[in-house]
């Protein structure tokens, strides 16, 4: 029986339109054999949580470069919890000062990827994280 493909939602929350990173990650994960859904720009945490539920994804990848991560990430985590989606792996990539990382991890973000991360590192992280389930 073929292995079930890992399903990933790539999302750009907030008002920022810099989508170079989000697009590269979407394509790299797709090339690595995952099912990738890209939300497009300017998604509220509410829209992202609904899309994740609807698409039944294993992973949500947020791309945030605007400095709004401290507001947006906890909002999303709260919504996922309310929807009973605590098992979804949430990753954040972008410009995140190191001082903010502990609080984001505390809020339940599984992985934080800073500028300079190779796409291969993210692919490996997802495979390792989801290894028992897949």
């Amino acid at each position: 029986m073929p292995e079930k493909k890992i399903r990933v939602l790539i999302a750009k929350p907030g008002l920022d339109g810099h989508d170079r990173g989000a697009k590269i990650i979407a394509r790299a994960l797709r090339d690595a054999g995952m099912e990738v859904i890209y939300t497009g720009l300017r998604q509220t945490p509410d829209m992202i949580a609904s899309a994740a539920a609807q698409e039944d994804v294993d992973v949500i990848g947020l791309s945030i470069l605007s400095g709004a991560h401290n507001t947006l990430c906890p909002q999303l985590m709260k919504l996922l919890h309310e929807k009973g989606m605590d098992d979804v792996t949430v990753l954040v990539g972008g410009i995140i000062p190191e001082a903010d990382i502990p609080a984001l991890k505390q809020a339940g973000i599984a992985g934080i990827f800073l500028p300079g991360t190779s796409t291969q590192d993210i692919i490996e992280f997802i495979h390792k994280r989801l290894a028992p389930a897949h």
Binding site: I10, K23, L41, G67
Partner: protein, 569 residues
């Protein structure tokens, strides 16, 4: 206007044809080169630029077949302006050192502006926060978490008055990086200038106002292309009549490059954007020789030194040909492409941030060797956050060192006549024309954008580049090679009190103004938006009544609708 879409320029473009070696070069290949290569091979099979453009071992006369110095190089200050737009360039006047700044509230940024001016900066450049860029007030629900983060929060004329407090707009030129709501922010700026008693006919500065590159790359759009273009042309017309020294647009390749394009794509899409604006304005009936002197450009300065210099030189040649041959402009002030340069933010690394000072210095040098009119140098900490005062000062000092210590300003176009630079200039120009013709054939830039053509080309280039970095085919010092453990650096923090202070200021503003007057002027704006009248006077009226940015943008949104892009991944 009868501009056939497939019209070609009359001037020939020299490109990389087959190289016909002189007998001397053939002898060199045989007697000197071959034995060396036989002993030890070169480091790589292929050498390419940052944009993956192939570079040959040696450039010589053989690369300049068909190139005519009198026609293609000429002299500085003369067509086709390959060597620069002024006969004496930096011997008479250095470029304007214009550092982009903005964060927090208007008070915070006003302080940074005055600090930079006190340290020898010669022009201002305003960065707005994301809510402002998207036409939302600071207290809009979608602004949560974003107020004052990526720039300064400006929600009304009251904020603008604070931003330029004690800064004489009659003397200081200011650039404003604002696009979708550009007309509104510009109206606020003009209202402050008027209050200060500055003469609109004399004030100078630059409005970015380049909506096409928003659809292509930066994605801060509000309205669909048609009404957005109308707003841009409204500002052209208004500027032509009332502020003849103001650059009403800064046609920008910067963001296209940051989104991952190649140098040739940056050049081609930017120049084709410029042509699109000219064509829309001419269709409105604006005389080409009257509005085009107020158009300016903005390019990126990336790592590949010679590729960047070739790009700036080719840009001037393309614009000259477009203005004279496509649009039959008779005004030399319309022919010369003037541009601002910013070093490449996307080239900066979060790792070993001090290295960014070196990257920025080399990129800035390329901008200067390419003949820029103004320059922003990025700060070493910008892969992490907005710059601290320390980092911003080092960035400004970098420009001052280039200007006063390196000697590159002593002569005009120091690289002119170099086989390599001239050949690369020709090839980059040829590559850009190929793209321009392809976009002409699609029916112009708006049509190409609607087909996602430039978006797709950029996404492809950006993915290829990332894969090359991941495979270490391209080395980034401190990222995929020469990696060392590091300690975090000190960063500028913007806290949420900015949002609270802004929200308090807005509710005080709304309570203190005449809501009857605000409603009346917003209603007049909506009515005008339904007609084909120039909207600038209506926007200016609304701004003066202290209608907020969000209210004015929303009034137009009810008429124009909102744009949703087709995402390409």
């Amino acid at each position: 206007m009868s501009e056939p879409s497939d019209k070609k320029t009359k001037s020939p473009v020299c490109g990389a044809g087959s190289r016909k070696l002189s007998s001397a070069e053939q002898a060199w290949e045989k007697n000197t080169l071959a034995p060396t290569l036989a002993k030890s091979a070169e480091r790589q099979k292929e050498f390419t630029t940052t944009s993956s453009y192939p570079i040959r071992r040696l450039y010589s006369e053989a690369d300049l077949a068909g190139w005519e110095p009198a026609r293609d190089l000429s002299f500085p200050g003369e067509p086709p302006y390959t060597r620069g737009i002024h006969p004496t360039m930096y011997r008479t006047r250095l470029w304007t050192m214009r550092q982009f700044a903005g964060f927090g509230t208007a008070e915070d940024t006003n302080q940074r502006f005055r600090y930079l001016l006190a340290h020898g900066q010669t022009g201002l450049s305003t960065a707005f926060d994301l809510p402002t860029l998207m036409g939302y007030d600071s207290d809009h629900p979608l602004s949560e978490g974003e107020v004052g983060k990526c720039g300064v929060a400006i929600s009304s004329l009251a904020d603008m008055e604070v931003l330029f407090d004690q800064i004489p707009l009659a003397d200081v030129t200011t650039s404003m990086t604002i696009n979708s709501p550009a007309a509104v922010i510009w109206a606020m700026y003009l209202a402050v200038a008027e209050k200060q008693g500055a003469d609109w006919k004399k004030i100078s500065g630059t409005l970015q106002n380049d909506i096409l590159k928003e659809y292509i790359a930066q994605k801060e759009y509000i309205y669909p292309p048609e009404p957005s273009m109308r707003l841009v042309i409204d500002t052209f017309e208004f500027g032509m009549k009332h502020t003849p020294k103001f650059n009403v647009i800064s046609i920008s390749g910067y963001h296209i490059r940051e989104a991952g394009s190649t140098a040739i794509q940056e050049l081609a899409f930017t120049l084709r954007d410029g042509m699109e604006y000219v064509e829309w304005a001419m269709r409105r009936g604006l005389p080409v020789d009257e509005f085009t002197p107020q158009l300016s450009f903005f390019f990126n300065a990336h790592n590949d030194f010679f590729e960047e210099i070739a790009k700036y030189r080719a840009a001037r040649r393309i614009w000259y040909k477009a203005m004279t041959e496509r649009y039959q402009s008779a005004n030399p002030r319309s022919w010369a492409l003037r541009f601002h340069t910013q070093t490449a933010g996307c080239s900066l690394t979060a790792q070993q941030p001090m290295n960014n000072v070196v990257r920025t210095a080399i990129q800035a040098l390329a901008g200067v060797m390419g003949g820029t009119q103004s320059l922003h140098t990025n700060s070493l900490d910008e892969a992490w956050a907005l710059p601290t005062e320390f980092a911003a000062t080092v960035a400004l000092r970098t420009q001052q060192i280039i200007a006063h210590e390196t000697g590159v300003t002593n002569t005009v176009d120091p690289l002119g006549g170099s086989y390599f630079v001239e050949a690369l200039t020709n090839e980059v120009e040829q590559g850009a024309w190929e793209y321009i013709r392809r976009i002409d054939a699609m029916g112009g830039m708006v049509a190409a954008i609607e087909k996602s053509y430039p978006q797709r080309e950029i996404a492809e280039a950006s993915y290829r580049y990332q894969m090359a970095v991941d495979r270490k085919e391209k080395i980034i010092v401190g990222v995929n090679e020469y990696v060392t453990p590091e300690k975090p650096i000190e960063l500028l923090q913007i806290d949420e009190t900015v949002a609270r202070r802004q929200a308090a200021r807005l509710s005080k503003l709304r309570a203190g103004r005449s809501s009857v007057e605000v409603d009346r002027r917003l209603q007049a704006l909506r009515k005008a938006a339904h007609s084909s009248e120039n909207l600038m006077p209506f926007i200016y009226d609304a701004v003066k009544s202290y209608a907020t940015l969000g209210e004015i943008c929303e009034a137009m949104r009810t008429v124009f609708g909102a744009y949703e892009e087709l995402s390409v991944t």
